[in-house]
């Protein structure tokens, strides 16, 4: 069981005392800073996604190119093997 420290206060906090700690301007400033970071983070994530997709696209295109090259080479070989040798 958690331990609790129970204290007794003779006085209630006065509104004046509490008012010293009010600072809405600071909260707004921190909020705007947080929003700015959030926006920057979002842009960074979008950039990462775009970069990832671009890399995937490049890999696929290169793979396709290599496949075509191999296919062409195989076809050429097959034609050469299928055609009768030239008599000279």
């Amino acid at each position: 069981m958690a331990r609790n420290d129970i204290r007794l206060r003779r006085q209630r906090m006065t509104t004046g005392n509490i008012a010293r700690h009010r600072n809405y301007g600071d909260i707004m400033e921190r909020h705007e800073r947080d929003q700015k970071w959030k926006r920057m983070f979002k842009v960074f994530i979008y950039f990462l996604i775009a970069a990832f997709l671009t890399i995937i696209l490049i890999i696929v295109l290169r793979w396709e190119q290599r496949e075509n090259k191999d296919l062409n080479a195989n076809t050429k070989k097959a034609i050469e093997l299928a055609s009768p040798p030239m008599l000279s």
Partner: protein, 188 residues
Amino acid sequence: MTEAEIRQEYEILDRAKRDSKHFGILYEKYFDRIFNFIYRQTDDEDLTADLCSQTFLNALNNLNRFEFRGLPLSAWFYRIAANEVNKHYRKKKTDRVFSLEEIRIKELMDQGNEGWDEDLIKQLLVYFKELPTDMLEVLELRFFEDKDFKEIAFILDITESGAKMRTYRALDRLRKQFNLSIKYDGKK
């Protein structure tokens, strides 16, 4: 709080979602209450000020996530504040503080002409010390913040019946141990 007042607050909240400057109205309205609520659980003015600002900042940063549940907006602020206090104690790993106003305790205990002496107060403090934290949280919200069980359930993320059960158990023990009559729900 009437339903019309709750609706009015939600309208302010909707405006604040579009333009955060409108949040100032809610900040001004609830700052004192949230400050007192946190102060009762920390007994440290500077720490309370930090946690209180963090509470309102979290609320402001998460306005779009807020869902209407028919409860006063204050319940949402209390919930964030309670989470901030819990987070603080989890991080610091120190004893949890409950700093109770003597005058409020006297108001709650209907002593009549009988003596309200220092010994009784000391015994009460010992009694509160023996109560588990979750029971103290419920008692604080019910008797020091005047929250109803629906709100307490939302603030502490428990069921309404759970909040009721904790309160009545604590009160029964208090009545038996001290032979006190407590002003509560019109019953004694």
